[in-house]
């Protein structure tokens, strides 16, 4: 007997309003109301019991009403529920709660009924449903009969003979392996005298994917007569190897990089990309992006505790018309809304503050947005090193395994095209509460010594996680022991599924029961699925049958070295456009999407949970000014700070990727020096997002960016501690032309503030002096100003690390001496924007004279105000500290350009005022347009 209970809100339901907004983004109009009714199916209980459950559990008596059966409604309606066999996330908690009422129930499931006021034709309804209401992978439209037979799987071992056209075989099975790699595999199996099984081939494809092994970055690259045998090792890794800083505790070999925080603790940091999934399913793609990077932190050492999340996005321009969208591409606003929502809902539920980030808009990201998700953790020093011995058990903890995310990594290693939208099986599904439970338990298990080694199940699923963990020792796994969401999965699907919220733990045999019981106490499933052997073999079993057997040596070292050619043609040239009226130029730059306030995003994130956010992303008198970096206290009981920032200049990349990367590094450093970080204790992360490295000019761009990382990183003494690359960020349009993104390197930075002294950007007090620190040059190539003028070339900003380093050290000294009242780094929009933002933050005016700046180039006001030269700051000091400031900065470029005061911003040159804005004008221009 099934009872249907419907619950509706008595007050206006925001869910309906969001669907209407979403329909707007899909271009569907004409519906002014959508009602959402929660539907519950209760199996095997009496009428009286159903009524009691509805009343006592399912209905909020004040805000909702219920009905057994259906509410009468007019309009077009549709009901969505989970597919048979898919675990309804509400069910376990509801069953437990119903048991607490003393009622025995057979089964419980939920559905949602959507009622649209007015008519929708079936095709539009279907579009709205598939885009906004459900994911066909896990849900379906209820059409009446809700009884489906469950699929079953009967074991049959599959061999794949490697004969004939190897590339066709790679394509047919979605392996993303090239001919040379396929030949290598063929050769290996010929040698051992049998064809590979499907699971063996899949394992190799996962392990050898660009996503997992970074074969391009480790490949042999020829560039301008120089040959790199291993590009990343000779550039990015080389910084830390040459600097050998004692405070770098674990670099480039674990799931995140670890640096020393104090005597007892290290902090670890990792940033990941989740670009392709976010292009197709923005909400789920971004949510699982943040979920995944949080697991990287949980999977560092023997487990670290996440304390901060970061997010950086690159999108297409939001104002593009629907008719201008390439085929199969989602509108930027829809992507933005989904991505921000995904990060918000996952991050907020995890209880990790999302406090640092950036957003960048450019048409090249229209069909291939970039979504960077970062996470930072804290870990006791004694837990940084993993330990693994033969005989240790493999424990899988967390969510059940389903068919979600099959082939995610091989998908990530190819270009997107207009067909990609149909590949929904590559997108994973996130459940943050499951991950939160795991988080709590991992930290407890670690502190009890039950975790000897741990890693996350991310891209490649168990195949990558277990395969990587067992690479030195060898491991055997029994796949039928893996808990499944539904029946019918093959042994190979179990092995490569990228189902979320799973971790793999290595534990001593004697600790297995304790570990499993500990997890069970708080409702998390932990299962022993295998053991580490010591014979350096990977052996996979299903119901007692051996389904795969590979030598770890071949799996991890057998990949043929990638050989690529690289070239780059310089395209830098001096451009001096006709100036446009200065006041309109100023407001155009200040109000551009790239520069305008990001408050509408920041406030949706809980950036203060854990009560450790000390410099928040929004600062100033009205708490709405921008922050350069943010500062947290990693330990609540200690006032030692950690600053976090980032740098990203994709537009510079199309002029010269070297200076793009150099500028990103400089920006990431000055972001956090500006808030108080010690320049001698800064570590960096690199995230490369480029197009297809198989094209020489893309490879050339990558090489130039790597060279900058090496040279600038070394000169600044700022080692890279972790990184990730995402290649093939291209969209192949329907006629076959590749549309690559701008060459993009995101540099993220962390720096210590041992003394805890911090500074913010908002101007503080009338009468104080304004100093510009650093050299200003006519460097506007790729600048926001030129972009607004429609110019994409010019002289790109360079970095002079010798001067930059001195400036950073001196500024740090001045901050520590308490001389700096406010400090803002100069970045996109240059001096003009920095000044306006400081005025906005402080809600107090300022007056400057740009003639006091020693400008290297044509001293035209627009060029001076909007130049984006690196290593510069605008600082506010008290008049009585001026002598001391001049002493500290003697020998370095520093200019007293004006003072704080009045209720407007005025800029003078040639003895007269050339620009004047009220504070109000600046505020409304900068805050005028939230994208959504």
């Amino acid at each position: 007997m099934v009872h249907r209970v419907e619950v509706r809100k008595r007050y206006p339901d925001k869910r309906g309003e969001r669907i209407i907004a979403g329909m707007g983004l899909l271009g569907v109009t004409g519906i002014d109301k959508v009602e959402v009714i929660d539907v519950y199916y209760l199996y095997g209980i009496s009428d009286v019991e159903a009524r009691r459950i509805a009343e006592e559990l399912l209905t909020d008596p004040v805000g909702e009403e219920y009905r057994l059966g259906k509410f009468d409604c007019d309009g077009t309606e549709i009901e969505i529920t989970y597919n048979p066999g898919v675990e309804d996330p509400v069910t376990p908690s509801a069953l437990r709660a119903i048991a607490d009422l003393g009622i025995k129930i057979e089964h419980f499931k939920t559905a949602k009924r959507y009622i649209f006021s007015g008519d929708l034709d079936p095709e539009t309804l279907n579009t709205v449903a598939t885009r906004l209401l459900y994911n066909p992978l896990i849900e379906h439209i209820v059409t009446g009969d809700e009884e489906f037979p469950e699929t079953t799987y009967r074991f049959k071992l599959i061999h794949i003979p490697l004969e004939g056209d190897l590339v066709a075989i790679s394509k047919r099975y979605g392996l993303a392996l090239n001919r040379i790699e396929m030949e290598r595999i063929q050769e290996y199996f010929r040698k051992i005298g049998r064809p590979p099984t499907d699971i063996e081939l899949e394992t190799i494809a996962q392990t050898w994917s660009e996503h997992c092994v970074h074969k391009t970055f480790k490949g042999r690259i020829e560039y301008e007569g120089r040959v790199f045998e291993n590009l990343i090792k000779e550039t990015i890794f080389a910084v830390v190897e040459e600097l050998k800083p004692g405070w770098c505790l674990s670099v480039f070999h674990d799931n995140s990089g670890v640096v020393e925080f104090d005597d007892e603790y290290g902090v670890c940091f990792k940033v990941e990309t989740h670009n392709h999934p976010s292009a197709l399913e923005p909400y789920g793609g971004a949510a699982t992006g943040i979920g995944g990077v949080i697991r990287d932190i949980l999977g560092t050492g023997q487990g670290a505790k996440p304390i901060l999340s970061t997010d950086v996005f690159c999108f297409g321009e939001p104002d593009i018309g629907y008719d201008e969208l390439p085929e199969g591409v989602l509108h930027p606003k829809r992507i933005i809304s989904g991505v921000v929502g995904g990060v918000r809902d996952y991050g907020n539920r995890m209880g990790i503050p999302t406090a640092s980030g950036a957003v960048f808009y450019h048409p090249s990201f229209l069909s291939n947005p970039l979504v960077f998700c970062g996470c930072l953790g804290i870990i006791p020093k004694k837990n940084i090193k993993k330990e693994l011995k033969p005989g240790y058990r493999v424990i899988l903890v967390g969510g059940k395994t389903g068919r979600d995310g099959i082939h995610g990594v091989t998908f990530a290693s190819q270009e997107l095209d207009s067909e990609s939208q149909s590949l929904s099986s590559c997108v994973q599904i996130g459940n943050p509460i499951e991950e939160k439970k795991i988080l709590d338990l991992i930290i407890r298990a670690r502190d009890l010594g039950l975790i000897r080694s741990i890693t996350d199940c991310g891209g490649g699923g168990l195949s990558s996680a277990v395969g990587e963990m067992g690479r030195e020792l060898g491991v055997e796994v029994h796949l039928e022991r893996v808990p499944l969401k539904y029946t019918g999965l093959t042994y190979t699907e179990i092995w490569i599924s990228e189902a979320q919220e799973r971790m793999v733990i290595a534990t001593r045999p004697e600790d297995v029961d304790r570990l499993i019981n500990l997890f069970a106490e708080e409702g998390v499933e932990a299962v022993e699925i295998g053991r580490f052997t010591g014979d350096r073999m990977l052996r996979l079993y299903y119901e007692g049958n051996k389904v795969g057997e590979l030598e770890m040596e071949f799996l991890h070292k057998g990949i043929p070295k990638v050989v690529r050619k690289a070239r780059w043609e310089k395209r830098e040239e001096l451009i001096r456009p006709e100036p446009i009226p200065l006041d309109s130029a100023f407001l155009k730059v200040l109000g551009s999407y790239n520069i305008a306030s990001k408050e509408w995003i920041i406030r949706q994130y809980d950036h203060e949970v854990q009560a450790r956010t000390i410099v928040k992303p929004l600062v100033g008198r009205c708490c709405d000014g921008p922050s350069d970096g943010i500062v947290i206290w990693p330990r609540l009981e200690k006032r030692s700070g950690l600053a976090v920032g980032c740098g990203l200049f994709p537009r510079y990349g199309q002029i010269d990727p070297y200076h793009m990367a150099a500028s990103a590094i400089d920006e990431a450093i000055r972001n956090i020096v500006a808030v108080g970080a010690d320049p001698s204790r800064i570590a960096l992360l690199d995230n490369f997002c480029f197009g297809s490295p198989e094209r020489e000019e893309v490879m050339g761009a990558i090489v130039r960016a790597c060279l900058a990382c090496y040279e600038i990183g070394l000169a600044y003494g700022t080692p890279f501690i972790s990184g990730k690359d995402s290649l093939y960020n291209e969209y192949i349009d329907p006629v076959g032309n590749p549309r690559p993104i701008l060459p993009t390197l995101l540099v993220s930075s962390i720096g210590l503030i041992p003394g805890g002294k911090v500074v913010t950007t908002d101007l503080k007090e009338e009468g104080n002096l304004l100093y510009l620190i650093g050299r200003s040059k006519e460097e506007l190539g790729g600048s926001e100003y030129f972009y607004q003028l429609g110019i994409e070339t010019g002289i790109v900003p360079k970095v002079d690390p010798e001067v930059g380093k001195k400036i950073y050290l001196c500024l740090h000294r001045a901050i520590n001496e308490g001389l700096i009242q406010a400090c803002h780094d100069l970045s996109e929009g240059g001096l003009g924007v920095a000044l306006a933002e400081m005025v906005i933050g402080g809600r107090v005016g300022a007056e400057i004279d740009i003639d006091r700046i020693d400008f290297d180039g044509k001293a035209r006001p627009d060029l001076i105000l909007f130049s984006e030269s690196n290593s510069r700051f605008l600082v506010e000091i008290r008049p009585e500290d001026e002598t001391r400031i001049n002493t500290i900065f003697s020998g370095l470029p520093h200019y007293r350009i004006g003072k704080v005061g009045n209720d407007h911003l005025s800029i003078r040159s040639g003895g007269k005022t050339i620009l004047e804005f009220s504070i109000d004008t600046l505020v409304t221009t900068w805050k005028h347009k939230p994208v959504l």
């Binding site: 007050y11 339901d13 925001k14 969001r18 006592e56 559990l57 399912l58 909020d60 004040v62 805000g63 909702e64 996330p89 509400v90 908690s93 509801a94 709660a97 607490d100 918000r344 907020n348 539920r349 995890m350 209880g351 459940n431 943050p432 509460i433 939160k436 439970k437 709590d440 106490e521 708080e522 409702g523 920041i602 406030r603 949706q604 994130y605 809980d606 950036h607 203060e608 949970v609 854990q610 009560a611 450790r612 000390i614 410099v615 928040k616 929004l618 600062v619 100033g620 008198r621 708490c623 206290w633 609540l636 009981e637 006032r639 805890g756 500074v759 913010t760 908002d762 503080k764 406010a822």
Partner: protein
Amino acid sequence: MRVKVLILRAAGTNCDLETGFAFEKCGAEVTFRHIWTMAPEELRNYQILVLPGGFTYGDYLGAGTILAHELRTRFQEEILSFIDKGGLILGVCNGFQVLVKTGLLPGLSGYFRVEATLVENESGRFEDRWVYLRPEKTNCIFLKGIDSVFELPVAHAEGRFLAPDAVIHKMREEGMVALRYTNSDGSPPGYPGNPNGSIDDIAGITDPTGQILGLMPHPERFIDPFHHPRHTREMIGFLAGYEILKRGVDYVRKNL
């Protein structure tokens, strides 16, 4: 004597550690317990019960609903006797939602009768921002003697307090509206000063005994001057969050 605080956790609780840290700073002895591993009788070992912020059970079936249900079905007797013996209960954010949905707040016509609710913000969005709060005349122990406007952060998607007019009227009459959103000068705010559209600007409420406080703002996030968003402009000496928790701890020390 040691003041014993129980921080009650469930799946999805996420403000437990900083709330515990804040109570320790106030001199209490803090224990963290997961509701599934705790027998109701164990509540007798504590004098302050705290339901911290978070998204318990993913807010499935409504914010705080399932935890409220667990408390109602398993802990009802023990909670009644806990209150009877003078114990204090604090619910912050999701904890406030739980207290309202169990019917412990406002408790006008006895406990465990649901009289009000907290629903989705009028803005339709999760919002994190600092707000001004005006303490009202009540007998709430956590707010005793605090009579001027102070600031705390809110961070929630479902904080809009709703109740039938008669309930609101009676709460006002009997002095159970403990905290209202306000402008810095004490005048009534619109959005975003009232961040969620709460009826009558209600931010926190107490029960007839004054022993229970539920509020959307987070006291545990303002126990240090550096927590304040404008600490580089002005160092605020009155740490509102600390003061609220400290009053609870001091009361127990003196009276129980």
